[in-house]
């Protein structure tokens, strides 16, 4: 494989019972189907144990994560899915994204669509990023909360434990939760909807390096997913 290919590692989380499909990035025009050069998928349990690695045929447009995870006999209720892609920057001049479709089987909640979290790669020198501190934030709706919120965090590193701080912001108070994740481990960090009588307004993740992260909302009564989205990242 050519060494001048660009690389991108994306991450998502599959939970048992979900109909969860990933649309592989692809471009089409009249002349050609333009695809990734390669894509390898890997599954990890919450402790970071590798469950399965699968080379994906990039001619495939839709991946059924349930079918892939279903082949793992001892899969945990939640697994981290890493999508390791190589692509030609002449075909994808901007960082390609995979897109997700997510719906709990039997749920009356609407299906969710999201852009898979790009964790490693795809930030060229021209961006001029200079800061090393990594912040991500998400602002919640102001209406009364009928959902339970949380943050899903995963560490894509091979060797290093990731330390992060998840801070929930209320009108005048904030609550910080430290998280330490060994390589490939992942965790769901619950966020209290209220604290000292004040409603949850915002969550912020601070880490030395970028992690796989999603903000999640579940209906308080049924647990059905109503939110699965990336946070907004910026460098200082």
């Amino acid at each position: 494989m050519s060494s001048d290919l660009s690389a991108l590692l994306s991450a998502t989380f599959y939970e048992k019972g979900d109909n969860h499909r990933i649309e592989l990035i692809h471009q089409r025009d009249r002349a050609a189907h333009r695809r990734l050069e390669s894509l390898d998928l890997a599954l990890y349990d919450p402790e970071g144990k590798g469950l399965r690695e699968v080379p994906i045929d990039t001619r495939q447009e839709i991946l059924d994560l349930g079918a892939l995870v279903g082949t793992v006999t001892d899969a945990s209720p939640r697994v981290m899915v890493l999508l390791d892609a190589r692509y030609d920057a002449r075909i994808f001049p901007y960082r390609p994204h995979h897109y997700g479709f997510l719906h709990r089987r039997g749920s009356t909640a609407a299906a969710l669509y999201y852009a898979a979290n790009a964790v490693l790669g795809g930030v060229p020198d021209r961006i001029g990023a200079t800061g090393l501190n990594n912040f991500e934030t998400y602002i919640f709706l102001r209406r009364p909360l009928a959902e339970r919120y949380s943050v899903l965090l995963g560490n894509p590193a091979r060797f290093s434990t990731a330390e992060a701080q998840v801070t929930s912001y209320y009108a005048t108070e904030r609550v910080a939760q430290p998280v330490a994740l060994p390589p490939k481990a992942h965790v769901e960090v619950p966020l209290a909807g209220e604290h000292a009588g004040e409603r949850l307004q915002r969550v912020e993740i601070k880490a030395l390096f970028r992690l796989a992260s999603y903000v999640v909302g579940r209906r308080a009564d049924s647990g059905d997913l109503v939110l699965f989205d990336h946070l907004f990242s910026y460098h200082r």
């Binding site: 060229p124 200079t130 090393l132 060797f159």
Partner: protein, 68 residues
């Protein structure tokens, strides 16, 4: 870095997805006292996702990990 740590094999893989730095390239650069190699100066500083592994490997290979 101790000689034992230097000789302990690590599998080769792509370490930095932004600069295309492989673990072998990092190891070679550290072995020859030439870290960072030309064109790889921004390793760990762009998407930042590899920074933890980069610092770990720099320490393992005996480079100055205070300013990757």
């Amino acid at each position: 870095m101790t000689p034992d740590a230097a000789s302990e094999p690590l599998p080769s893989f792509l370490l930095c997805y932004c600069t295309n730095l492989t673990l072998d390239e990092l190891r070679d650069a550290c072995t020859h006292g030439a870290w960072p190699p030309p064109g790889k100066e921004r390793t760990g500083k762009l998407c930042t996702g590899c920074l933890g592994d980069l610092l770990y490997c720099l320490r393992r290979f005996g480079a100055d990990a205070s300013s990757p």
